[in-house]
Symmetry: C2
Subunit: 221 residues, 2 copies
DNA sequence: ATTATTTTGTGAAGCTTTTCACATAAGCCG
DNA sequence: CGGCTTATGTGAAAAGCTTCACAAAATAAT
């Protein structure tokens, strides 16, 4: 007896998830513009994709549209929020309140999507204890215990590359399963910890490459 | 008479270029650690890739290794710099000296790779004329002319989403062909202008998705 | 109520990227 | 120098992702 369909964890591509983020953003705009429904065509146009791509992406998660009509804006937005897990608050800590770090504390897109930075850590004695945008900066020495006490779920690393691995080791000990890393270094973590890297010079390098090589763009109809 | 091979502009995948950035970074570290040569195996291990991937990526651009030995660290680093176009200085301007903007001005990875931010622009009267990390902030009203006068080649957009398109229109008029955009909006530009988007909440959303769905990771041997 | 129109959802085709596997070349060692 | 080891470079296979194309479903129009 063969089960008709194993619904389990099929792997969804990274690109699909990233496009869901784009759809979410576009749907927020459409909502503000008082659209009630939107077609895959319109959604595609706004993010420079193809309608088929939009429909395929959504089809991995269910059927959300009405034939002949399109997708209901508010409802689809809600559904995508659920898929992405951003229909709830996430408790986030940030380590390293330097240039990048302090910019991130005030980064609107984070708070708008219910990523709440509730703890800050640094190793600089002049910063520790001071209040930064309403959050008192903690000593990195107490990282592990304070992450646990504050029930942090996601940690953002914004420290120099040279010390990032030491900090991550502590973060892992605090049983954190998700890390967003801004340090330009490849972090070693156990298999059950998710790490995503944010490397801002990569995109500049891509631009540089494209210009030097007059790199053709991907065709887009 | 058919030419044996058309060497022209075959499209290199975005992933390959991004990995070249990673190789470049790793090679810099290997250089510091006084390695003379490195195998595709070691290079792969350091960036969590496969050796075949490393060799294939490099093979698009030439043959850089020695069989039985590996790749010469310093030489390969130099070659990748040439491919990426980071063996020269790029003149960069940044528009929007807010949270993100000012963090980017001091971002070490940019300057280390010869992306030189030489102009800053803002529309805030309190900031205009003031000196920020050695650069006087210009009025955004003069964007077009000042970009041209300063011979800027790359513009970084770090302004609110609502005004990004207006600024980009001016940037395009100044004949700039490369834009790095931090505003969460899809910019419209002519076909010959390269735009890369940096969206920091996307990676947080990916983490959120992964946690909520216990998303399996891509297998890595 | 029938026909025309719109637009979804989705197998299948097509294309791209990654991985495999092996011939080939270089170094090393006795 | 000849055999052994290491590790590249690369066609070919495999896997993964995107686009096509069309049946199905819903609305609108007459």
């Amino acid at each position: 007896m063969e089960p008709t369909e194993r619904l389990g964890k099929k792997r969804i591509s990274e690109s699909t998830i990233h496009r869901l983020s784009l759809y979410y953003r576009t749907l927020s705009m459409l909502e503000k513009e008082n659209y009630e429904t939107v077609s895959s065509k319109e959604l595609a146009k706004r993010e420079k994709l193809t309608p088929a791509q939009v429909r395929k992406d959504l089809s991995f998660f269910g059927t959300f549209g009405t034939r002949g009509l399109g997708y209901p804006v508010i409802e689809l937005k809600k559904q995508i929020a659920t898929i992405l897990g951003i229909d709830r608050q996430w408790r986030v800590a940030l380590v390293g309140v330097g240039n990048i770090g302090s910019a991130l504390v005030s980064y609107k897109e984070f708070s708008r999507q219910d990523f709440h930075i509730v703890k800050l850590f640094d190793n600089d004695q002049r910063k520790i204890g001071s209040n930064h945008k309403g959050i008192v900066i903690s000593d990195i020495k107490n990282l592990q215990t304070e992450l646990q006490e504050a029930k942090i779920e996601i940690v953002i690393i914004a420290v120099p590359a040279a010390v990032a691995q030491y900090i991550v080791d502590d973060v892992v000990k605090a049983n954190i399963k998700a890390i967003l890393n801004f340090a330009p270094v490849n972090l070693k973590v156990p298999d059950d910890v998710y790490v995503r890297n944010e490397n801002m010079s990569m995109e500049l390098e891509y631009l540089s490459f494209a210009m030097v090589n007059e790199h053709p763009k991907k065709k887009l109809k």
